[in-house]
Amino acid sequence: MSSRPIATTRSATEIPTGKLAVWWLLGSEIVIFGGLLASYIMYRLAHDAWHAQAAATNTWIGAFNTLVLLTSSLTAVLAHQAAEEGNGPKAAKLLWATIGGAATFLIVKAFEWTMEIRHGYTITADTFWSFYYTAAGLHAAHVLAGAVVMVFVARSAARNQELHRVELAGIYWHFVDIVWIFLFPLLYIAK
């Protein structure tokens, strides 16, 4: 790795540079999901008929996945705590638990989608389903990205290196969790 510029080490705002960048990244994510969900809500309110479509989503699977993500957020924040205490290996273990959560989430999702597609609820079946797959798919892509990032962070954390990154990955992960917290009622509960 080449040496870091001095610029990276400065902190006029008193927020470490990496963390500041993550906040801005989340800002840009808020507007991406915001635009998509705003569009969905408009359509949803315009079409009473979508109730009937939404009725076919499986609340239990959605709820289970919410539980998985909430729990993985817990392990992520505990990893952050461990990293702050300087306990890299423990942080790494907790991060691996979080990655496990991500994997569970994705596997459940794959199973759920397969079932729905088998029943004819494909992305083109109805515009409700188009939103369903697009919103959840975009979110799933973020889950995947977060898991990949955490693999790298966990591996260096296990060697007690780059511990500050544990917190950054965590912040991102909690955001992914929050997005799902809203997707869950929007796609599954409101029927």
Binding site: T13, E14, I15, P16, W23, W24, L26, G27, I30, V31, G34, G35, A38, S39, I41, M42, L45, A46, H47, D48, A49, W50, A52, Q53, A55, A56, T59, A63, T66, L67, L70, T71, S73, L74, A76, V77, L78, Q81, E84, R118, H119, G120, Y121, A125, D126, W129, H164, E167, G170, I171, H174, D177, I178, I181, F182, F184, P185, I189, A190, K191
Partner: protein, 117 residues
């Protein structure tokens, strides 16, 4: 890195799970207003708890909160400017006849497969 007092994360997680249970059970009453509150009210509370305690926004610099809220506010702005057109089936010099036909059709055919298994 700032040293700060850690909230009891497991307790917060337990509250979150409790809220999740309520939001799943709420709709079973079948009262729409209750569903809305338990679904979206609770989502807001959950998001708040995660943002505050897990993302530590409570001890982060204030302007980060302002920045993130600004992003949200702009989305409301987008919604407010767009919804009056998109949610209507007709406007000052247009109508979407196919929009209504769609609503008719969609309320009859629930998907293409067997919805109930």
């Amino acid at each position: 890195m700032s040293e700060h007092h850690h909230p009891n994360y497991v307790k917060i997680w337990a509250i979150l799970v409790g809220l999740l249970v309520v939001s799943v059970l709420g709709p079973m009453l079948g009262i729409q207003i209750v569903t809305l509150i338990t679904a979206f009210g609770i989502a807001v509370v959950k998001a708040y708890l995660v943002a505050k305690n897990f993302m530590h926004l409570n001890i982060e610099k204030r302007y980060i909160v302002y920045m993130l809220t600004t992003c949200l506010v702009f989305m409301f702005l987008f919604f407010a400017g767009t919804a009056p057109d998109v949610m209507e089936a007709e406007g000052s010099n247009w109508e979407k006849p196919s929009f209504e036909l769609y609503d008719e059709a969609a309320s009859h055919t629930v998907g293409h497969g067997t919805a109930h298994h």
